[in-house]
Amino acid sequence: MDDNSVYRSLFFEESDDNLQQLNDNVLELESEPDNMDLVNEIFRAAHTLKGMAATMGYDVMTKLTHKMENLFDFFKSGKLKVNSDYISLIFRCLDRLSQLVEDLRDEKELSQDQISDLLEELEKVEESVNGSDQAAKTPEEEQDTGALTNVFEHLEEADLDVIHQAITGDYKAYSIAIRIDKESLLKGPRVFLIMEKLEQEGDVLHTEPSVDILEDGDFDTDFRLVYLTRDDLDMVKHNVESNSEIDEIIVEPFDEEKQQAGEKQQAEAPKTVEKQKAQQKQTPVKAAAKAKPKTTKNNKTSAAHQHANARNQSIRVDLTRLDRFLNLVSELVVYRNQLDDASMRNNADAMRDALEQVSRLTSELQDLVLKIRMQQVSVVFSRFPRMVRDLAKELNKEMELVVEGEETELDKTVVSELSEPLIHLLRNSSDHGIEAPDIREKEGKDRKGTIKLSAYQEGNRVIITLEDDGKGLDPAVIKESAESKGINTEGMSDDEIKKLIFHPGFSTAKEITNISGRGVGLDAVQAKISELGGSLEMKSELHVGTKFIIKLPLTLSIIQALMVRIGNESFAVPLDVVERVVMLKENEIVKTTNQEVYRFQEGLIPIIRTDRLLQIEPDPNKKKFAIIVKIDQKYYGILADELIGQQEIVIKKIDPMLQKINKYQGATIFGNGSIALILDVNAICNEKKGTE
């Protein structure tokens, strides 16, 4: 067997693409069922998918794709009309295929059971189209075993006459028997090709089985024919042999006597032949069943080898960006050489010039690398129209998803983490936001609800908004629900009450549906977004709709940070959580029973003594600063001895062991080569909250 591991990553990438394309196109097909171009496009994508799966030896996946493709074939030939039942079935197949691809990616073995339900359904559809036609055909297929023979079973008088006539001219008659490779696929066209080649040099007079059966491929491996030509024996042989996938051939001058003798023999022995056939038909099935576990085992061992590179993440890069990258690097090399040269000659001016260029190039390179890591949000968004469609069906609502700004780019890590929270929000909007069509009509709205998902860049942040024109949040309902859950809402403004939906364990759904409200609340969404360094806001107006605004950093690997000194150590505090910095005196820190607080604005905020927390010797002579950070709507004051300044820093990963102590997000390297740790403010403050 070929070693397919090299192709694995490519296979996954292209499978993902093809599945996505199928999803998109099938969705489109539902609204334009007569668009034949679309059907062809779908057919092609399914076909490519099947071909790839088959080449990789993923039988289960191949089988499902093949059956699904048949359905598209029916659409194409007009035997089936596209309707939403079929579309739903196809979507289920696509989902299953995605699942299979995921399993393969995880090195899981696929089993036939994973697809048997869908296969059954697809077969039912097929049967309804083909009727009993197909069923009747299969058993007829004959099994050719034993020796290949060129004795014909039923040659008619008329044929013999033609042969006689031909031989008396300068033609010769040959009886040819051909056995096609057992494993040969597409036997019909194979025979057709052989005949076509023969016909170029002569005439095929008679075939057994008949030409129609042969060209449909409804035979096992053997067929016979009478061939008339001027060519001599060797040339005919050569002609037949020029075809591929042939197991065995017999080419002999046509011999009437042998033919007649054979006919008699055949007439005597039909019964035993029949019996043999029946037996043989059973054995191969058993053999195949036995062979199967073996092959899967083989796959497993080879799969284990491939494990190392299984989750090898890859990214597609626009070629022009890569070219620019190369250009910049080659420029860099030029200036490095200039630097070399200048330093040899001790020419400070030349060195400064070259350095200037190098620094320009470095920042350009930095920009470019970040851009290369960027991915369009469409990677995530493209799944949603399909999802909203399914949700609409499930909920018996009418709704439409409008997507804007799909081409907005974000760091790959952010993009891939984004789908989960967005799905959550979308489900929320579909389930709680958009009203049932009748209710909408009564309120003077369009029966069809609209959910708008848009993305755009603003400065060095990307804003993603999700807006529905549904019923909006009703403070009264939330208040009631909150109180029944034991949350005190006294003295809260409407806005504050609305924000309660972010409270852990809060769900406004009256009954728990399987779409949203599974106990995982919006608090999970918020947590995920802040994990990505972003923020989540919500605006809602009763009867008008709800809008969620997600603000995300462009990239996770370079951040703005406030550099501080604690004792003799330098630390970085991510700037996006910093509200402000205040100078404070020791006596402004007030001790309460269990913690130290500081009066900030109207309230008291906990103070975190970083020196104690990180076990650093403080510098008693220095002034103290409190860096006020806002985490989960709460303020904390983090003490520092000295401010160094604001700086753009590159986050470097730290040892996982160090990561486990939950105080550092990473490290960064200063221009002078020294290292500063980046404080994980989130974790530190949450820990503080826990001890309260």
Binding site: D2, Y7, E14, H66, L186, G188, P189, L193, E215, N243
Partner: protein, 120 residues
């Protein structure tokens, strides 16, 4: 020097696979094309000894490309690559002058035998 083969397929995966099979068996890959139009242009440019042509491709499909190539060069040797279930199209291709066809999934031996035969 091995004979030159032009590989035509819209899936990178398939092209890589074929390329691998070919180069391991002493053939030289003249070029690769990902659709029929490109195949026609690259056929003109590289004048390969043989073309492996996928049938289903976007825009210009394999059969159209086959016809275009055969029209420009009546001696062009083109092997079609097809998958199960494409009987009709394979027949069309044979009528249009394809010398042979191979069926996906590709079996290295079979591919090489077909190509050897087509070039002998």
């Amino acid at each position: 020097m091995g004979k030159k083969v032009l590989i035509v397929d819209d899936a990178v995966f398939m092209r890589m696979k074929l390329k691998d099979i070919l180069s391991k068996n002493g053939y030289e890959v003249a070029d690769e094309a990902q659709n029929g139009q490109e195949a026609f242009e690259k056929y003109q440019a590289t004048q390969p000894d043989l073309v492996t042509m996928d049938i289903t491709m976007p825009e210009v499909d394999g059969i159209q490309a086959l016809k275009m190539i055969r029209e420009a060069d009546a001696n062009a040797k083109v092997i079609m690559c097809s998958a199960m279930g494409q009987q009709g199209m394979v027949m069309d291709a044979i009528r249009a002058g394809a010398v042979d066809f191979i069926v996906k999934p590709f079996d290295t031996d079979r591919v090489i035998k077909a190509i050897d035969k087509a070039l002998s």
